[in-house]
């Protein structure tokens, strides 16, 4: 029997090495450590709790089932966020094809499903939900972030919510460094403009 592992204090690289040796506790610690950041990023990208849960789950399954392919020269979290972001972007693309609108996703049958999936990028209508959200700055920021175009949204979330460096974001999104900087600056200006009335 392998000795019980106190994984909570280990760095990611050591946890990954243990996971590569088939240690179940290491897998669970990696999930525990990143489930909230990954879910937060994906949720803020797709704005649908159920879809975000599925995408976050898919992210971890993809990463952990390919853990032996992980290369230690990159940060584990960068790899994880890259896959999470790609899945979220793909989901948004599919959803756009499915004509997502303020009426909810095409597959939404019940009122609850319609409400859960009601979301549109660039929708600037002042509905009751927006008015309510604007009363709280945090909620207003969430709404404003949701209205950014997907790549701006990824950049701003990775930079200011997850605290990634510009270089890391460029590597993660496969974009030139200059483009990432431009996107983040533009995203900040769009957000400030959107939030001008609420501050």
């Amino acid at each position: 029997m392998p000795r019980l592992l106190d994984a909570t204090n280990l760095p990611d690289a050591d946890l990954v090495a243990l996971a590569q040796e088939g240690r179940d506790e290491a897998y669970r610690e990696l999930i525990r450590r990143y489930e909230r950041p990954v879910f937060s990023l994906v949720y803020r990208m797709v704005r649908d709790r159920e879809a975000a849960e599925d995408l976050a789950q898919e992210t971890f399954i993809k990463v952990l089932n390919n853990i032996e392919k992980y290369s230690p020269e990159f940060k584990f979290s960068s790899w994880l966020f890259k896959i999470a972001n790609n899945l979220a972007i793909d989901s948004l693309r599919r959803r756009r094809l499915n004509t997502v609108s303020i009426d909810g996703a095409a597959g939404a049958a019940t009122q609850a499903e319609i409400e859960a999936t009601s979301f549109e990028i660039g929708d600037r209508s002042e509905n009751a939900l927006d008015e309510l959200a604007n009363k709280e700055l945090g909620a207003a920021i969430e709404v404003a972030i949701a209205r950014l175009r997907p790549l701006y949204r990824s950049c701003i979330l990775l930079r200011h919510v997850d605290g990634r460096s510009y270089e890391e974001i460029a590597q993660l999104l496969d974009l030139p460094l200059g483009t990432v900087k431009t996107y983040i600056h533009r995203a900040r200006h769009e957000l400030r403009e959107a939030l001008e009335d609420t501050r």
């Binding site: 392998p2 088939g22 897998y27 999930i31 920021i141 701003i156 200006h189």
Partner: protein, 195 residues
């Protein structure tokens, strides 16, 4: 030389990001003299702080279990061997030392015997041949006895030799086959119960 105009949004972004490259000194110098730009940068910092302090969101309970249900935890063979060996190791240090000593002694004996055998190759080959011959005879005798017990009068009729060995071999193979099928059925049932 300081700037005679207010800072542009991109220039404020440079300061916000803590850039230190070419031209930034000029911007910081302007900031020292311009209260409006200082206020603007402070507002930008406060705005970024608001984004950075957005709360983390939590997935539904049991998220890790749902993920782990779909993850195939794979233990490489070298780790499996290491784990098995570690499992045989005694827990107490005294017993570990005793086991280590016993294993070292056994390894030394085996090595010594191997070296002696190599140094006396002729004798080793002779003794080895003798032992093999005896073992073969013993095995044949025991197989014949087993076959006679199992087959009885038929064995006597057929007499000793090849037919008897063939019958014994077939019996052995049938037994092994049935045993294998039985084990497989038990394993399949265990898997079904687990599922």
């Amino acid at each position: 030389m300081t700037l005679t105009r207010h800072l542009l949004p991109d220039e404020l972004d440079l300061l916000l990001d803590g850039e230190t490259g070419f031209g930034v000194q000029q911007l910081t110098a302007h900031l020292r003299d311009c209260a409006d730009c200082r206020d603007e940068l402070a507002a930008l910092r406060a705005f970024v702080w608001d984004i950075e302090t957005l709360p983390e969101l939590t997935p539904n309970l049991g998220f890790a279990d749902r993920v782990m249900h779909e993850v195939h935890v794979f233990e490489p063979w070298h780790v499996a061997i290491r784990t098995s060996v570690a499992g045989w190791m005694p827990a107490s240090p005294a017993l570990r030392i005793a086991a280590g000593t016993a294993m070292t002694s056994a390894a030394t004996l085996v090595t010594g015997a191997a070296v002696w055998g190599w140094a006396h190759r002729d004798a080793t080959v002779f003794v080895g041949g003798l032992v093999t011959e005896r073992a073969r005879e013993g095995l044949f005798a025991s197989l014949t006895a087993t076959a006679q017990t199992l087959v009885g009068p038929l064995g006597s009729t057929l007499g000793s030799g090849l037919p008897l060995l063939a019958v014994a071999g077939a019996t052995l193979l049938t037994g092994a086959g049935l045993g294998f099928l039985g084990l497989r059925a038990v394993a399949a049932r265990a898997r079904r119960n687990e599922a």
